[in-house]
């Protein structure tokens, strides 16, 4: 997959962003606020058309949103008027899948995310972490080629977040999906990113790219053990410093303007 990306109006949200992702890769994108992470994701999802450049998936151009690219949103974006079961079965229903086949998929996925006892509940009765698991299951039910995650764990508390990170890694390994994950937690980016892209703002561009071993290590392992890995702390400090500098630069610039 390849993008050459572009400007939006007078603001250059993204400039010369080019990424090539292989099937089954887990990419995390990190950057200070305003660096165009969400714009990038919206373009990949097909909600925005780039002003310059192209995106290709499996050899065809991306023109708009499609079931081949599933998306998980920060707040879940679940349909609160449907039960958990109907939420997860939404994608298959839209395709007109027979209900028996659909029920199998839904049951299986709810087992995977550990919500088999909550099938008939309304989504607003679930906790934030559970809602996010429903959102993951809903996305997987459609069997997309690529899963796009826009700070999916951002709204969760620290403990739930850690559990969800393990779940994401487990699902990634089990399903072999290609995943693009946007986050502004450095730890999360390190833990979940097989590849990690640090973006810089104004205009949004790729600042640095890493290949990391932690995601592989973290599959079926205790993530806290992974964090004790000697390289982990070094990388974390390095990236934190990088982002810190960028934030300083942004602040400086706005102060000069003012």
């Amino acid at each position: 997959m390849r993008f050459d990306l572009p400007n939006g109006g007078s603001v250059q949200a993204l400039k010369d962003v080019s990424i090539n992702l292989k099937a089954g890769e887990l990419l995390s994108v990190l950057g200070p606020s305003g660096c165009g992470k969400t714009t990038l994701l919206n373009i990949v999802a097909g909600f925005l058309a780039p002003t310059e450049g192209v995106m290709t998936l499996n050899g065809h151009d991306i023109k708009g949103p499609d079931a081949e690219r599933g998306m998980v949103f920060q707040q879940g974006a679940l349909f609160e008027w449907m039960s958990v079961r109907d939420n997860v079965g939404f994608g298959p229903s839209m395709k007109g899948m027979p209900s028996k086949e659909k029920a199998e998929i839904v049951n299986h996925l709810l087992d995977v995310v550990g919500l088999q006892d909550f099938k008939e509940k309304a989504v607003y009765e679930l906790s934030g972490g559970m809602q996010q698991r429903v959102a993951l299951a809903r996305c997987l039910a459609n069997d997309p080629d690529v899963i796009l995650m826009d700070e999916p764990l951002g709204a969760l508390d620290a403990l739930t977040r850690e559990k969800m990170q393990s779940l994401v890694l487990k699902l990634w390994k089990e399903t072999g999906k290609t995943i693009i994950l946007i986050t502004h937690s450095v730890e999360e980016a390190l833990l979940l990113g097989e590849r990690l892209i640090v973006m810089a703002p104004r205009p949004g561009r790729i600042h640095k790219e890493y290949r990391l071993p932690f995601a592989e290590l973290g599959v079926d392992a205790d993530l806290r053990e992974v964090k004790k890995h000697p390289d982990f702390a070094i990388k974390r400090e390095e990236i934190l410093g990088m982002i810190w500098d960028m934030e300083e630069e942004i602040m400086g610039r706005t102060e000069e303007k003012a």
């Binding site: 949103p65 079931a67 920060q74 707040q75 974006a77 679940l78 008027w81 607003y124 809903r138």
Partner: protein
């Protein structure tokens, strides 16, 4: 004067009840009881149940007190208007002589029509008189009608009950007062007490009695339920028409630039126009029949429903729409499975408002012109001074309006349980 007294009694009951009931119960239960500071904590404020009951009882108490209801013990009544017999003496001077005669007065209820008290003419050139007066009215006493010396011959009243008087003076007597008019005729006015005249405020039992009567006999050829039924029918018909047109219109305005541009000026202009202001125009165009009323209610509901549906559509969280697109939904599927269910809570809120407005509008429209309906009932009753029917009508209109809102809320709880939980 009576108004201030009513207010004073009301405030007194309020304060005494507050004093008593806030000491009996703390008004706090469970968790709230453990809070040390509750002032400014909205969640700790619960309606005091005793206050609610006492409040309603107080209204009925005041109503009974100031109408002399027989449901209340006598001692609670406000001073009643005088009724029964009384009398006063007048002294006439004519041609240098003076004579005294008595006027026997019978003060009676307005509903009754008794005979004047029987009297002896008495001695002297001034003869005794007899009059009857209805409560709350007054009566000129043509004292010289049977006297030997008439007013035009120089007869002149110089004293009432021995008190010397001039024209314009007023003398208090038992059960009322006598005023000498400019022309020298005494005018008797009985004491009104502090109670309301039934014409202004009938007693509770009169209203209840009238309710039974109207239930049995109907009012102007239609039963009570018939009147209310007609009003309800108009509301429901108008509301349904308004919703059937308004909701799709609102959706179109929420989904299409062209529709929004086209209808925005119309909707924004019509929204602040009170439906009541349209009554004359609707009557001119459609007459006073059912069509006119339903058109009016249709117009009342239309804009509210259109705006509710529009804001229901604009209230859809964009990430839900995006989620549905990336799950492979088509435009129609987004409409059917995302936009419509997501806008239902807003539409229900709009429907509640619209039903309330329609109910108010129908009563007002019936006040102007109708042959049947709750509004027509109170309008006609007021013309015939049947205040009890007016009050009955007002109570029924209030109860039905409240009932409609309760039903809508219940329907909302059952049909859109996800309201406010997105």
């Amino acid at each position: 004067m009576t108004g201030f007294l009513v207010l004073a009694v009301y405030v007194a009951i309020f304060m005494v009840a507050a004093f008593i009931f806030t000491r009996i119960g703390t008004g706090k239960d469970g968790y709230t009881a453990l809070k040390t500071v509750t002032f400014g904590d909205e969640s700790a404020v619960r309606p005091n149940r005793a206050a609610g009951i006492v409040s309603i009882l107080t209204l009925f108490l005041l109503w009974g007190m100031f109408t002399g209801s027989k449901y209340l013990p006598e001692f609670l009544h406000a001073p009643a208007p005088f009724a029964g017999e009384t009398s006063f003496e007048y002294t006439v001077e004519a041609n240098g002589e003076s004579d005294t005669a008595t006027v026997a007065v019978l003060v009676h209820n307005r509903e009754e029509n008794p005979e004047k008290p029987a009297i002896e003419p008495g001695e002297g050139f001034a003869k005794n008189d007899s009059i009857k007066v209805a409560q709350y009215r007054s009566q000129l006493v043509s004292f010289d009608k049977n006297d030997e010396v008439k007013k035009k011959d120089g007869a002149k009243i110089v004293a009432i009950n021995g008190t010397p008087v001039q024209p314009g003076d007023k003398v208090e007597i038992k059960g009322g007062s006598v005023t000498i008019s400019d022309k020298g005729t005494p005018n008797f006015a009985p004491d009104n007490g502090l109670q309301m005249e039934p014409l202004y405020l009938p007693s509770p039992e009169a209203v209840i009695e009238r309710t039974g009567k109207v239930l049995d006999e109907g009012f102007r050829g239609t039963s009570l339920l018939g009147h209310l039924g007609w009003s309800l029918f108009r509301v429901i018909a108008g509301f349904i028409c308004g919703a059937v047109v308004g909701i799709p219109l609102g959706y179109a305005m929420g989904l299409s630039n062209w529709f929004r541009g086209w209808f925005d000026p119309i909707v924004e202009f019509m929204r602040p126009v009170p439906p009541l202001a349209l009554i004359p125009l609707v009557i001119i165009w459609a007459g006073i029949g059912e069509t006119g009323k339903i058109i009016l209610l249709f117009l009342a509901a239309l804009w509210i429903m259109a705006i509710a549906a529009r804001s229901g559509v604009s209230g859809v969280n964009i990430s839900k729409v995006h989620a549905a697109y990336s799950l492979g939904a088509s435009k129609w599927q987004i409409m059917r499975y995302v936009i419509i269910p997501n806008s239902l809570p807003e539409i229900f809120t709009g429907a509640r408002v619209a039903m309330g407005v329609c109910w108010g509008t129908v009563v007002a429209a019936e006040l102007v012109a109708a042959e049947k309906g709750a509004g027509m009932m109170i309008m006609v009753a007021s013309k015939f001074q049947n205040t009890d029917i007016v009050i009955l009508g007002i109570i029924l209109i209030g109860v039905i309006g409240f009932g409609i809102d309760m039903l809508m809320r219940g329907a909302e709880r059952i049909l859109v349980p996800w309201k406010g939980k997105g």
